[in-house]
């Protein structure tokens, strides 16, 4: 009789186990039912940040979901060659960018056309990739998994591999409270891992929040120039207004990347790319959507002297005399770079929670 009661209890938990698997859940193992504690992780919006765009309530990060997401992120099985993991192109010490190559390298050493983006504060972004092709963080990984020049796989095959794996079925069950390796759960777990990647502890953030830090004179001077000449686009705590703009880069004849126009089909969006966050910019070199600029000095020299005109060039760069660019003196460039380095968040770059080993 006791056993039956126990059974009812388990059945009850099963029938009610929520997909998010928060709290406790009972899973089946070879040795019978096992209670797994899977506490919710604390996702807090930093005081100087806007609201999250990711719907945390629909997919609340849990300890086991995060661990599963992290394992997937660093697993070459998501690629056709079993080697190129997400973490291969998104390396933590470079704020999850890749910089041994200018544009990213994937399976069989194939070269992509774009520079791997940093991964941080993704829970606050409206759209993803340089042209906003992905509208949800949950679906974004479809792009690298299926791209021939990245992981060259299919989602269907990844699910087959994971379901046949020794450990994944148990990890999926622990994370979601019931049996089943599925695409939905894989994407949700990857999101739980990526959503937790909040970078908000740079010197810049601390100053914004009124914590006990001070800027040097040079950093302060740099900040004033930045506010006047850059912050209209690289705006706010996220360091981007999330719009798409053409900042005057010459068209690379090899890649011939039309930017946002690929997504919308609108000629007005030709050569526009998402304004990148400048957070951790010190370590995310090389710069721009195709990584054509190696250093921050190169970037500033480009803004003063390297722009080319085109019909969609942002109006802010047009000078009254018909030339284009931003006026910055050599001394101001030094000050700007000092300020840009206050955006480096070492706590994030060194956070053991996100590291592969």
């Amino acid at each position: 009789m006791k056993i039956t009661k126990y059974l009812i209890l388990i059945l009850f938990i099963w029938s009610c186990s929520s997909e998010s698997g928060n709290g406790e859940s009972v899973i089946t193992t070879d040795d019978g039912p096992l209670t797994v504690t899977n506490p919710l992780l604390d996702f807090t919006v930093p005081a100087n940040f806007p609201d999250a765009t990711y719907s945390i309530l629909q997919n609340p990060p849990t300890e086991k979901g995060f661990e599963l997401g992290k394992k997937l992120f660093y697993d070459g099985q998501l690629a056709s060659d079993g080697v190129v993991s997400c973490g291969f192109c998104h390396i933590q010490s470079f704020a999850f960018t890749h910089h041994t190559h200018i544009t990213s390298h994937g399976v069989d050493g194939q070269i992509g056309t774009r520079n791997a983006q940093p991964l941080h504060n993704l829970a606050f972004m409206n759209e993803f990739t340089w042209d906003g092709a992905a509208t949800f963080l949950d679906t974004q990984p479809i792009i690298p998994i299926t791209s021939e020049v990245e992981m060259n796989e299919t989602v269907s095959n990844v699910i087959l591999k994971l379901a046949a794996d020794d450990t994944y079925p148990t990890l999926f069950e622990e994370a979601f409270g019931s049996e089943g390796v599925s695409a939905d759960r894989m994407f949700k777990a990857l999101s739980q891992f990526m959503v937790m990647m909040v970078s908000a502890n740079s010197k810049f953030d601390k100053l914004e929040r009124g914590e006990a830090v001070t800027f040097t004179d040079q950093e302060n001077a740099g900040r004033a120039i930045f506010d006047a000449k850059c912050a209209s686009c690289h705006a706010g705590a996220l360091q981007t207004d999330q719009s798409y703009r053409n900042n005057g880069l010459a068209m690379d004849p090899v890649f011939n990347d039309i930017g946002r126009e690929r997504v919308t089909g609108l000629p007005d969006d030709n050569r526009k790319f998402k304004v990148p966050s400048l957070r951790n910019i010190e370590v995310t070199f090389p710069y721009m959507h195709d990584g054509r600029l190696a250093t921050l000095e190169d970037v500033l020299n480009f803004y003063t002297d390297g722009m080319v005109d085109s019909p969609t060039l942002d109006e802010q760069f047009r000078r009254p005399d018909g030339t284009f660019g931003i006026d910055i003196t050599p001394e101001e460039k030094v000050q700007l770079i000092a300020f840009l380095k206050t955006l480096t968040d070492n706590d994030f770059i060194e956070d053991r929670r996100f590291s592969e080993f």
Partner: protein, 253 residues
């Protein structure tokens, strides 16, 4: 014996305890609805290439591929209240060369008089609801995913055509319609009413919905293949096709 009976009832009610809409134990067992999508031209079943048809622009066309996504099914009762089919199970692919039937199970016993469904995937709802991303591998295998943008093709319509002026000149055409990022939403909802029917316990009712292929070209808008034979991420023509499609469904009474 009585003890065990109580126990069984207990287990049964616990098992359904979480489907809280229908927690009443007196509810009769649900029934099923089988919806077949029949693709037609000129009132008769579509025949694939090499059979040809003529559109209102006098272009002769033959169809080599026709697939579309149906989603978010809701059944409408005579009093206009609705039964929403579980969203995560509510994505279906209709393929002229494959499956054209949507099997909806576990439908509450009731009288129904209409249906609302989506053409494509609602970008405002997707993929928030748990389970909806499980449609991805399926759509991927059917070639209905724009993998580069992680978005769906709602309609894949391909074939060859020739114009009236150059009838021997066969050219391929490609219509791939979906939403364009967050910029352009081509998802459409279609509501059709039909004669009242009863879903009965453990019974399957069959209904046929016809999709008039000719209306892809000629309905609210008239589209010429000669003018544009390759529509993919096309902000001008894709919305026109989506609107035409939204007029192309009807119930076969």
């Amino acid at each position: 014996m009585k003890k065990y009976f109580t126990l069984l009832v207990g287990i049964a009610s616990l098992l359904t305890a979480c489907n809280n809409d229908e927690s009443n134990t007196a509810t009769p067992d649900p029934g099923s609805l089988s919806l077949t999508f029949e693709n037609i031209v000129n009132g008769a079943s579509l025949s694939m290439s090499p059979t040809t048809y003529i559109n209102n622009t006098n272009e002769t066309y033959a169809v080599s591929e026709l697939k579309y996504i149906i989603s978010n099914i809701r059944l409408i009762k005579p009093d206009n209240s609705t039964y929403t089919y579980p969203v995560e199970d509510s994505y279906f692919l209709i393929n002229e060369d494959g499956n054209k039937t949507v099997n909806l199970s576990n439908i509450p016993v009731d009288t129904y008089a209409g249906i609302t469904f989506g053409f494509g995937v609602d970008p405002t709802q997707y993929p928030i609801e748990s389970g909806t991303l499980n449609f991805i591998p399926f759509a991927e295998e059917a070639g209905m995913l724009w993998t580069w943008s992680a978005g769906y093709k709602f309609l894949k319509f391909e074939g060859v055509y020739s114009s009236a002026t150059a009838p021997d000149d066969e050219t391929t055409f490609v219509y791939h319609v979906g939403s364009h990022g967050a910029n352009l939403d081509n998802y459409k909802e279609i509501t059709l009413s039909f004669g009242e029917f009863q879903i009965a316990s453990e019974n399957t009712i069959s209904q046929t919905i016809q999709f008039d292929v000719a209306k892809i070209f000629d309905s609210i808008y008239t589209l010429s293949l000669e003018e544009k034979n390759d529509v993919q991420v096309d902000p001008i023509n894709a919305p026109k096709i989506a609107e035409n499609v939204s007029t192309a469904f009807s119930i076969l009474e």
